[in-house]
């Protein structure tokens, strides 16, 4: 017997798949109507993607970009979470760092990238630092809000029953912060890979951003779209295969 829940999930998947199919068909039709190399149909872009994948060029560049995304993501999430925890917990830390955070939050990504490249040269470290610094303030702000929303009564309970620092963090604080951490992760992933592309375009000689720069100079829209699409697919796979199952697992206790 198929449970109602499974049937519901099946139906949701079907609608999702159909919506993607409709999108692809609309793109295909529009591309064929336009009949211009500047607006290629879906089939052309997918063919380019297949060719570039078979030759190994696309996997090479996508791999490099992915590594940069992972490095700057881990850096931004780690440092941003630590900062947000400290700022949410201790008012003095918050007062000291709030202005700097606001500055960083409002500094355009491009300015930060250019400055770091000027100061530290067109290096890998500068590139990753630039991306991480762009994401760090939003993570810190999100986690700080999470800490401010912590349930004071549960923290008192932990004190009375002598949970100790590690157990308090793990069993009382972290479960309450998870929704904020997931929000930061999700927005972070979306933001970071876009900024990585700009960083690569401006100062690296490999990666998806670099390839897009090359094909921009050739006005080769099919290649530009093929690289972008490949990356969108990968980010989507991360969402489906890692983020959503993790989130479901973390929210098990909410299910009735």
């Amino acid at each position: 017997m198929v449970s109602r829940e499974a049937a519901d999930r099946g139906r949701a998947w079907l609608i999702r798949a159909l919506s993607v199919l409709v999108l692809l068909l609309a793109w295909e039709a529009a591309g064929r109507l336009a009949a211009s190399p500047l607006a290629p149909p879906a089939s052309t872009v997918l063919a380019v993607m297949a060719r570039e994948t078979a030759s190994g060029v696309l996997p090479h560049h996508v791999g490099i970009t992915l590594a940069r995304v992972a490095a700057s993501f881990l850096l931004a999430m780690g440092a941003g979470t630590a900062l947000g925890l400290a700022m949410g917990w201790w008012r003095t830390v918050d007062l000291w760092l709030d202005s700097a955070l606001l500055l960083l939050l409002n500094l355009p990504a491009l300015v930060l990238i250019v400055l770091l490249y000027v100061w530290f040269g067109l290096t890998e470290a500068a590139a990753i630092a630039a991306v991480a610094l762009n994401k760090l303030p939003t993570t810190a702000v999100t986690v700080r809000e999470g800490v401010r929303a912590l349930d004071a009564e549960l923290l008192e309970m932990g004190r009375v029953f002598r949970y100790g620092r590690a157990a308090t963090l793990r069993h009382i604080v972290l479960p309450q912060l998870l929704p904020y951490l997931f929000a930061a992760t999700r927005s972070g992933l979306a933001l970071i890979w876009k900024i990585v592309l700009v960083v690569e375009l401006l100062g690296r000689s490999d990666g998806v951003g670099f390839q897009i720069q090359v094909y921009f100079q050739l006005f080769d829209v099919a290649h530009i779209l093929a690289y972008a699409l490949a990356f969108i697919l990968i980010v989507q796979v991360i969402e489906w295969a890692a983020l959503q199952p993790l989130e479901r697992r973390a929210a098990r206790w909410r299910a009735s």
Partner: protein, 248 residues
């Protein structure tokens, strides 16, 4: 009252560690407003003291002070005992259950430092054995309150602080929870502060009853409960009536 008798008189020593609570509050303010007035009493080893007063009179504030969760007070709130820490190991039942909804019933006990065997026994006694591996978020309020009581009793506490531990339990579970508490106090007599607004409950469980005025609470009187009360329903009723008269 049908519950089993608690220790007739204070004095059952717990492994040589004597824990005593001394309270001498002159005033306690919250946000500039007085919530507690002049209030002095001491709670001795193995003694059960009921604190009775109208709702909102500051009983829970008193419990927070005694638990060391709030230290801003004019006067003293002090625990003493051999090698005493500022606050001893406490078993606390808060007014709200304060469970971790994202942990199971059993994990809630274990994380609070409950003795595993004692935890299982209390779950069984309080009718929660079937829920041991259920998320605490899925318990009804009555179950959550019984788990909160189990948690307070299962940790190796040097003193118990119980804030209306039987509130929002149905009749049968209230009787059950009272019986379990009375049993536990007999087995392991530790100084216990029982906050309640029910004089009958106070008389049934405590050696002494402290009656507070409406907030900011002052101590109205501090009355010993006659030893025979728990076996003699007529005496219990008379005691409650006498206390009610005094409180008026």
């Amino acid at each position: 009252m049908g519950g089993p008798a608690t220790a007739g008189a204070p004095g059952g020593a717990v492994e040589g560690v004597v824990t005593r609570l001394i309270v001498d509050i002159r005033e306690k303010r919250l946000a500039g407003r007085p919530v507690l007035g002049s209030l002095a009493f001491s709670l001795d080893e193995g003694e059960v003291m009921a604190v009775v007063g109208p709702s909102g009179c500051g009983k829970s504030t008193l419990l927070r002070l005694v638990a060391g969760l709030d230290r801003g007070v004019t006067g003293t709130v002090r625990w003493s005992g051999e090698g005493a820490r500022p606050v001893p190991n406490l078993g606390v039942v808060f007014q709200q259950p304060r469970l971790l909804p994202w942990r199971t019933v059993r994990q809630n006990l274990a994380l609070a430092g409950a003795d595993p065997a004692e935890g299982e026994r209390l779950l069984e006694r309080l009718g929660l054995a079937a829920q041991a591996d259920v998320w605490a978020s899925q318990l009804s309020l009555g179950m959550a309150r019984r788990l909160a009581l189990a948690r307070a009793l299962a940790v190796d506490a040097q003193a118990l602080l119980l804030d209306e531990p039987f509130a929002s339990l149905d009749e049968g579970n209230q009787r059950l929870a009272r019986a379990v508490l009375a049993e536990q106090l007999l087995r392991r007599p530790v100084p216990t502060l029982l906050i309640t607004h029910d004089l009958m409950e106070a008389v049934a469980l405590a050696h002494r009853v402290l009656v507070l005025s409406p907030g900011p609470a002052r101590l109205l009187f501090d009355q010993a409960v006659p030893p025979g009360v728990r076996t003699d329903p007529a005496l219990a009723a008379a005691t409650v009536a006498a206390l009610r008269d005094l409180a008026r």
